[in-house]
Amino acid sequence: MSNIIEVNGLTKTFGNSLRVVDGISFSVGEGEIFSLLGPNGAGKTTTIRMLTTLASITEGTAMVAGHDVMKEPNAVREIIGVVPQEVTLDNELKGIENLLLAGKLQHVPNSVAKSRALELLRLVELDGFADKKVGTYSGGMKRRLQLVAALVHQPRILFLDEPTVGLDIQTRTRIWDYITRLNDEQGVTIFMTTHYLEEADRLSDVVSIMDRGTIKVEGTPTELKDSLHGDVLTITVADGGDDLTGFLQSIPHVAEVTRTDDSYRLKLPKVESVLPEIITTVASKGLKITETSFSKPTLDQVFLEITGRSMRDAEEANNHYDSHASVHARETR
């Protein structure tokens, strides 16, 4: 698979000191769904703005379909579709009018744009609302329309900045379905940013985890989760006065044990196959397990492993950093 996006040492600074994106490098294969996953303030939106020619690049290079983003911005704009985080449709225009205007600005002939617009409205189940003003649409309908407004000219790459932020789970699931279909049926390469772990996990071929302006790790969701070396089993032992860490560690297949009061967190390759053996071994020592829970690895755990904090903690910590960066971004828009 050839790379359709190649980024090397991409850096963005605001003012003299605020380094929002710090020398990141990655590539995206044609036809892939690539996610930049990270908490708010990680630098994801700034990255997408640079790749879509909306923000200048301080250092490094970005090539989109063989075109240098800084040197050939119009060539890049011809082949990309951009869906920003905020709804930016014209509320006073009808649904179809928004799509036709997008087609006109992408130099699509009127007749082609019209049939394409109707086809796209059908795709996102808005064909019954084509002649309604967008101001009368619900938030979810607007998001669906915004998604296809970027597709009238049949772009090779679709950039989605937090495509489902603030949406209810039903609408989110529908948008995931449309994204998957666009990728599967039309071969559109999808580059998206998200801070939703499930979204990245479910949709992406490749996930890059970004935090504080740098990419921490990259791989398929499965590779990233497998890098944690298995599942996590948590058991609570009744009257567990003695420290069982060493004992549990000695059970075959247990990779790592950490204790919190009477609870033990065990890392295992595959919890289903080892759990009966653990219960038997613990019982043979005369101890009783009062509570058992286990979890498959998640991208949040990958994030925790790499950065030492969970996505939620990172978002809270980045709030100040994020608002500071946003102010700079707004001031320089």
């Binding site: 879509t52 020619t53 909306l54 923000a55 200048s56 911005p73 119009n74 060539a75 704009r77 011809e78 990309i80 951009v82 920003p84 905020e86 930016t88 014209d90 006073e92 225009l93 009018e97 205007l101 997008a102 006109k104 600005l105 992408q106 130099h107 707004r330 001031e331 320089t332 828009r333």
Partner: protein
Amino acid sequence: MIVESFALGRRALTKWVRNPFAVIVTSLQALFWLALFGDSFNPTNAFGGGTNGSLGPLQTAFGGAPTYITFLAPGVIGLVALTGMSFMGVDLVFDRINGYLDVLRAFPIPRTSIYFGGVIQNVAKGMVAAPITFVIALVIPNGLELGHGFGVVDLLGVFAIVALLTAVFATFFTGVAISVKSTDSFFAAINFLTFPIMFTSSAFFPLSFFPGWLKPVAQANPITLASDAMRLLIVNSNLSAPQIQALVGDVAGLAIFGAVFSVLGVLMARNALRAR
């Protein structure tokens, strides 16, 4: 660039046709200008005039206009163009705040088409306001009196001058609108600019009423150029050679303003819309 500019201009006009409130209110503003200032600023109140509200002995000082409203109406058309064009640029400010400008910047279109799209829609809206003002001036009591022989060519001449003046203000204020980053900045800039333009023009009084130091400024004011040119066409049945020369000078002055403001506007738009 032309196709994109018209596409964007059409977007704004479609919205306006569906919600013409702003343009109608702007047009009706002319009624207040003419009714209130046509009476309260009427020089015959202080200096006396002829019969039936005519300017009488003051007529020469007022460029030959038989009534004050006849003098004032072209000025009010200019003022409506000024206020209309200045405030209609707010759409671009909201486009920036709502992120719509960013969406436009991601299209493969010349940045200047966003600017000219704004100019086109504003001129079109302004051209709706002008005939309404003209009709209001004609129908109000002691209103606009057209010179003998005023015909279709003169009427078209008046509207051509209005179009030119509207374009002058549209090019200027669209440049301002595309450059500012918030509504506060926009309205502060508009208030700062419109009142000096308004009161240093010959909209209300002839240039001879201005003090010597202000006269050159008033003379070069686009509203003065446009309203003096319109008065020549409205008041006189046949233009003399010096009047034709004055008319050509006024129109040329407006054209120069339009060209200079277009260049400035394009530069402002390019600067405001470039990637940072």
